[in-house]
């Protein structure tokens, strides 16, 4: 039962490391930022599954903070690199 979940967490971590390719080969900066956002969501999923596996309910708070603070960097990116006429 838990073994299946551990295998799924390993697969999710592989998915996260796969996104590293897009950070390098992404032609525009928006692509790199999108890869970073996928990292954030995959991290939230990994932490939810880790809380299920190790039976630590305190990890849900980590996932919540990650989910709330994930858009800050993306909004800062659009704000900083967005308007090229300035």
């Amino acid at each position: 039962m838990t073994a299946y979940l551990i295998g799924l967490v390993v697969l999710l971590l592989c998915t996260l490391l796969l996104g590293l390719v897009r950070v390098f080969s992404g032609p525009s900066r928006a692509d790199r930022m999108l890869a970073s956002q996928l990292f954030g969501t995959t991290g939230v999923a990994i932490i939810v599954l880790l809380a299920l596996i190790t039976d630590m309910n305190g990890l849900h708070d980590v996932a919540l903070v990650m989910a709330v603070l994930a858009p800050i960097t993306s909004v800062a990116f659009v704000h900083m690199a967005g308007d090229e006429q300035r």
Binding site: L11, L18, S28, Q37, T41, A45, H60, P71, S74, V78
Partner: protein, 110 residues
């Protein structure tokens, strides 16, 4: 027992969506289609995994917290993807206008 089996099946489906999202991020040609692949992984993949976690937790406070996590991720994904798509659209439309005006200048000069 049936509940645990259902939970594992939901988690497998969520991981499949995450895998499809990462693969789409790698394989799709431009920013808009990559956004399309990314939002599927964000909303549906995390939703299925959260549902799998809900089926195995006991107290209603845990259910509420997990649902709150999912809602926050959906909100941040919607805001981020809207902003990034609007930025990409603005840059593209500016490039189109520049190309049009260049072509017009060449026509009038010729």
């Amino acid at each position: 027992m049936t509940l645990e089996l259902l939970s594992v099946l939901l988690a497998i489906a969520g991981v499949v969506f995450f895998f499809a999202g990462a693969l789409g991020l790698l394989r799709f040609p431009d920013v808009y289609s990559r956004l399309h692949a990314l939002t599927k992984a964000d909303n549906l993949g995390l939703g299925l995994i959260v549902m799998a976690a809900i089926l195995q937790s006991s107290s209603p406070a845990q259910w509420l917290k997990l649902i709150l996590i999912w809602l926050m991720v959906m909100l941040s994904g919607a805001v981020t993807c809207h902003l990034v798509a609007r930025r990409a659209r603005r840059i593209d439309s500016r490039v189109d206008k520049t190309l049009e005006s260049n072509a017009r200048q060449e026509e009038s000069g010729a």
